[in-house]
């Protein structure tokens, strides 16, 4: 039993717990906030994120929806326009394609099209990413698509602090915010400050300092990128790891600041290479740090195939530590 004086300043929890705590805190603080999505109530959430919330807040504010992504995402947008602050959960990014028209043509566009009259303060959360042998239709990584759309903010919380702290800031944002939670992170365990609160949703973060090469990544790829950086350290290479956190708008200052220092960049992105978010990051580095580059920007992305079911094939398709190390060595001229 730890003495009262030094009461525990952190608590052991999972990424999933952090997200649930964020939702609970938001619902307690603001009556306009309500959660809506498939199986978020009785079932407790497809990934058990919203377990227990129905009992605490009741069916009016924890609303199970029929499998009508376009209607309930559109309804979330309409309710936001009418003064609420909905959290709409789409089970996975794979099903968000059915609501892409509402997200693109209504949520992201209403403010501009109406000449600034109708803002849409909605938060839409969805899981993303592969790695659990769910095969092609359930393993997409499409954050890069959404990061292409002006009018919305796109987040990729990869740490417990961000999972806990981004939601409240997103709910206070008068414009639509999309939050992508990589499925592989839900079981990630760690220490979270007991008084962890809102965090900014505008900047990237250097998770590990370094001078020889910048490893730039986000979301589900952060853990393995940090692992690669440790391996490089053993080879005497000082690798800096930049966690984008915000995929739109991209935090150019932090990205370029790192590359200008290290002169070499590797972008690790679970999306397919062509037209991916890593392509955008690489283009910005070439535009803004061209004269500081000692090697072309390298990219480590998923193989351009529909995600296969078989474990060994799926692992071969996804960016892994060895492929990150190979890319780093290449830009280092090793």
């Amino acid at each position: 039993m730890t003495a009262l004086a030094d009461a525990p300043t952190t608590v052991r929890c999972t990424y999933r717990d952090a997200v649930r705590e964020a939702i609970r805190e938001a619902m307690q603080r603001d009556p306009r906030v309500f959660l809506m999505g498939e199986d978020v109530g009785m079932y407790g959430g497809c990934f058990a994120v919203s377990r227990g919330l129905l009992d605490e807040f009741g069916p009016e504010r924890i609303r199970d929806t029929p499998l009508s992504e376009s209607a309930f995402v559109g309804a979330g947008i309409g309710a936001a326009v009418a003064g609420m602050r909905p959290i709409v959960e789409i089970m996975t990014v794979n099903f968000s394609l059915l609501a892409l028209d509402q997200i693109m043509n209504n949520a992201a566009t209403l403010l501009h099209m109406s000449g600034g009259q109708f803002a849409v303060p909605v938060v839409i959360r969805m899981t993303t990413g592969a790695g659990r042998q769910l095969a092609a239709q359930h393993s997409h990584s499409l954050e890069g698509w959404y990061a292409h759309i002006p009018g919305i903010t796109v987040l990729a919380p990869a740490t417990l602090e961000d999972a806990r702290g981004m939601l409240w800031t997103a709910l206070e944002d008068p414009d639509p915010v999309l939050v992508f939670e990589n499925g592989a992170l839900y079981n990630m365990e760690g220490e979270l400050a007991t008084d962890a609160g809102p965090v900014d949703i505008a900047t990237a973060r250097v998770r590990r300092g370094g001078t020889d090469v910048s490893l730039i990544t986000y979301g589900g790829m952060l853990p393995r990128t940090l692992e690669a950086a440790e391996a490089l350290a053993a080879e005497g290479v000082s690798a800096e790891v930049v966690d984008l956190r915000v995929l739109r708008p991209l935090d150019d200052a932090t990205i370029i600041g790192s590359v200008v220092k290290t002169h070499r960049a590797v972008v690790v992105d679970e999306g397919w290479r062509s037209g991916s978010l890593s392509a955008e990051v690489s283009a910005r580095i070439t535009e803004q740090a061209f004269w500081d580059l000692d090697a072309p920007v390298a990219r480590v992305c998923s193989a351009e195939v529909p995600m296969p079911y078989a474990k060994h094939l799926e692992e071969a398709a996804l960016p892994q530590v060895p492929s990150i190390l190979a890319a780093a060595r290449e830009v280092l001229g090793g």
Partner: protein, 420 residues
């Protein structure tokens, strides 16, 4: 010819439903027009008598072209507005310019196996490499030169350019043997020359040109000049400098600037800004002084609140600004907020300056060379050091009378330097 759709810019009449002499009323269908998509009825929005069909069947005309002339019902035969008001500006269809002919590159006719092997190793694409060998053949050196140029990082190229290092001479430690930054830094001579980006003056010249063109276009200038006897000022300066160390020595320019500042504070209408035809006087005299840069080009650093500064403080500010301007260390704050500009070309032996105001300012003061000229004193002609002070001012804000009072104030201050 009405616009009948978002992407329609021309149409052809396939059928006229009416002819000269027919009476038409609002809403009638008068013709059928073929567009890319289909034939569409054209209705008329005026009533009247058709006098003449201006466009025959089968001729394609752009949207907005008058199709027929309509007389009013009452006075047949009188000319009236053409049927459809050709309101739409003819869409600016610019004829597709033929693509410029691709330059023909003499491609090496033959590549010896040796050259081809070397090219592969150095990642050089021989197919469109201009060969210098006999008959345009690609030689070893062609490949090496292309190869060498091929592999140096952008950072290495920048450092090499700045340090005056020849890239070709270095062996690269980067990817694929490419020369990288570290290689150049290692090979750099001890003291690199000052970096001066040569193309800076070109872009600066352009910016100045744009501003001057706008000034000439928008500001109705009027010009006045006055000659000022500088002997009192020169004597005062010489005496003042005798009591000052060389580091605090005063230049005539400091006195000219201070006199101008005092005049600008005293006489309204020359110190401020004019935007959208409304004049906004400045709260203090923020004097921009034109500084020429050694590589070419001009900048106009600003001495803020010059009227409130002593001559020594003006001199210190001037010295600091000119030094930083010429060493390329001016900050944005140094060159913004000017409410009046002074140009002092006396150094280059010019008698008078008729300047162009820098918008949105409303005046420009010029000082020529201080040189001995004949000058009448008590009826006798003597030699005196004289300077011509000119004023270019904005007639929307001030007039000749005020301009004269302004120059007079400058002259009086120069003749009583101790008062500055």
């Amino acid at each position: 010819m009405p616009s009948l759709g978002a992407d329609m810019d021309a149409g052809t009449i396939v059928e006229w439903r009416v002819g000269p002499g027919d009476t038409v009323k609002r809403g009638d269908i008068v013709a059928v027009v073929a567009t890319d998509k289909a034939d569409i009825d054209v209705e008329v929005f005026e009533s009247g008598v058709v006098e003449e069909l201006l466009v025959p069947v089968g001729i394609k005309v752009p949207v907005g072209t008058p199709l027929a002339r309509l007389g009013t019902l009452a006075r047949a035969g009188a000319t009236a507005a053409p049927v459809t008001v050709a309101a739409a500006a003819a869409p600016a269809g610019h004829p597709a310019a033929p693509p410029p002919a691709a330059p023909v590159v003499a491609v090496g006719a033959t590549h010896s196996p040796l050259v081809r092997r070397l090219a592969d190793r150095m990642h050089v694409d021989v197919t469109h490499l201009a060969g210098t060998g006999p008959g345009g053949a690609v030689t070893r050196t062609d490949v090496e030169r292309a190869g060498a140029r091929h592999r140096a990082s952008p950072r290495a190229r920048r450092l090499a350019r700045e340090a005056g290092v020849d890239l070709g001479a270095l062996t690269g430690s980067g990817p694929g043997g490419a020369v990288v930054g570290a290689d150049v830094l290692a090979a750099r001579p001890p003291s690199p020359p000052a970096t001066g980006a040569p193309d800076r003056t070109a872009s600066m010249r352009q910016a100045i040109a744009r501003q001057m063109a706008r000034s000439a276009r928008e500001i109705p200038h009027y010009h006045l000049a006055v000659d000022v006897d500088m002997s009192a000022a020169t004597a005062w300066l010489t005496a003042a400098n005798e009591q000052r160390t060389v580091a605090e020595r005063l230049l005539p320019a400091a006195l000219l600037l201070k006199a101008t500042a005092l005049a600008a504070a005293a006489v309204p209408g020359f110190n401020g800004w004019c935007e959208d035809e409304t004049y906004r006087p400045a709260d203090g005299v923020h004097l921009a002084t034109i500084v020429s840069l050694r590589g070419g080009g001009l900048v106009a650093p600003v001495i803020h609140d010059a009227a409130a500064l002593s001559v020594d403080e003006v001199m210190a500010a001037l010295r600091d600004l000119v030094q930083r301007a010429r060493s390329g260390h001016l900050r944005a704050g140094d060159v913004s907020g000017a409410s009046l500009t002074v140009t002092n070309l006396g150094d280059l032996g010019v008698d008078s300056v008729h300047g162009v105001i820098h918008p949105p300012q409303v005046a420009l003061v010029g000082f020529g060379r201080a040189a001995d000229r004949p000058w009448v004193v008590d009826g006798a002609v003597v030699a005196r050091a004289v300077v011509t002070v000119t004023l270019a001012a904005d007639h929307r804000v001030s007039d000749g009378m005020q301009g004269a009072r302004f120059l007079d104030a400058v002259a009086r201050h120069l003749q009583r330097p101790e008062g500055c």
